[in-house]
Amino acid sequence: MEPPYVRTEISSWVLAAYLKAFRSGSIWSKTESTVVTARISGYLNELLAWQDRTGAWGPITDVAEPNDRTYATVVAVWALAEAEESPAIETDLKRKAGQSMQNAVDWLIRNYRPNYGWDQNPRQPGSDKFNGLNYQAMYALEKAEKIDGYNSFKNLRAYIELKSNFVETMEPMRIEEKTVVPSTDLNVGGKACWATFLGYPWSLAGLSELRQDPSLTSAERRKVRRVLRIELDEIGELPKYWEKGYTWALAETVIGVSYLSNAL
């Protein structure tokens, strides 16, 4: 058996949870906040140190281009976007994180395949879509678009075309939709890096952002609404479907439904 190893995605999720809790303003007292902000900054610095010069992250801490993966990059972009909006982060660190986020977004734009989406490993292009990964990537990009000072990418022709192609080719997700990293790509730098991507919750989150996107054409917005309405028809089935299961999957489902509720 392998010895334990660090997964960078855990760092991104923990950082995002901390930032969300800090923003809620009711978790820590003023005196506790000093300690907490130091801790949050520590996690952020740690995450930034694991970014590859390409702009991407790998799931492990051995930074090298062959280890670059889409999911690790997407959750890092999400956490960095949260950091940019957080009062817990100092200006200098925000600048560093903003630049880092922009580089990661550029990597995501470069590695989007029209009519397909993103591969978990761009060096190993597949044919079956990673629907959950695609929607979560779109969600993270939409979040990053809202960060003033680091969102010039939203005017790039390549990005506008990416969004149009994404909307044109996207399909409604069923509750049970999920994809996994193929066995041929489990080994990252000698470590097993399995990941499962849920389609339904991240499509709810992604579509909640897209439906408010002013850069979409009216036909594209109609498509977003149509797909969302089809998915909404299934939402009543969720409690029964999730009567039992793994906590991570249920947590992601709550996140998707909550983002949708907040947007409606």
């Binding site: 997964r7 809620s24 609404r225 009567e243 709550v254 996140i255 909550s258």
Partner: protein, 264 residues
Amino acid sequence: MELPKAVNPQVDDNIQDAGLRIIAGHAEKLQAETPTQPLQTVPKAKNASGLVNPEELQRLSTRAILGGGLFLILSNIATILELMQDGFKALGIVFSIIPQQIPSWMIVTAIMIAVVAGNLLLGRFLYTRFTRHAISTHKVGAAVFLMLLGSVLILANASSVARLRPNLPRVTNELVSNLLRATAASQDGGFRTDYGSPTSREDAWTTAQSVQALLSRAHIHIKSGFVLVSITWIEITLDLVGLQIQWNLPMSALKSRPGCWLPT
């Protein structure tokens, strides 16, 4: 020759009973034989020569039946929509034509207005027919009965409308209560990997995702102390083992399957 009583004075333009139609036809035949006794009490069902026109009678009774049917459909529109919900799912396009900007309360209000109006029309329609020959006491009884019937129909339809709407707060509540089961047996605030199994292990990644989920929801109030305890659990775990994934977990218990060993 004496005319049958059924077509004599009380027959009006809304005859809907098939038996009456036969009798009316028979009466016309008799009328032809006795032209000196025209059917003066069937004014709208007479032809130019003052005779009963069976086609006209059929048209009027069809109109009455259609009217009654329409009122019945209108007064039960919510229940009918609920029954047809599966069909609508297959034809997702039906609901997609309703613009997203229209709030669901407006749609619900429109449906309930149709239900109440339909029940009033149906009540009036039935009352007219029930009480034509009734004495005053029976008229009161019929009115009370129809009011009760209308109330039952309106309540049944209101309940159907509630089930028709994708009730996001209710769905979120049920999902969150399941999610909280993951921490029910926990002494120190960590979330277990399987919320249905009190013996599964607590895990930092799962806890971070769960905290994020709890803080994302729009409709449920989670005590800040609860979030603090969970985050403190993450801190302690990370201080002990860093961002390492946990071992010896069942397959797929985490978003990443750490138990999967690969020869390198």
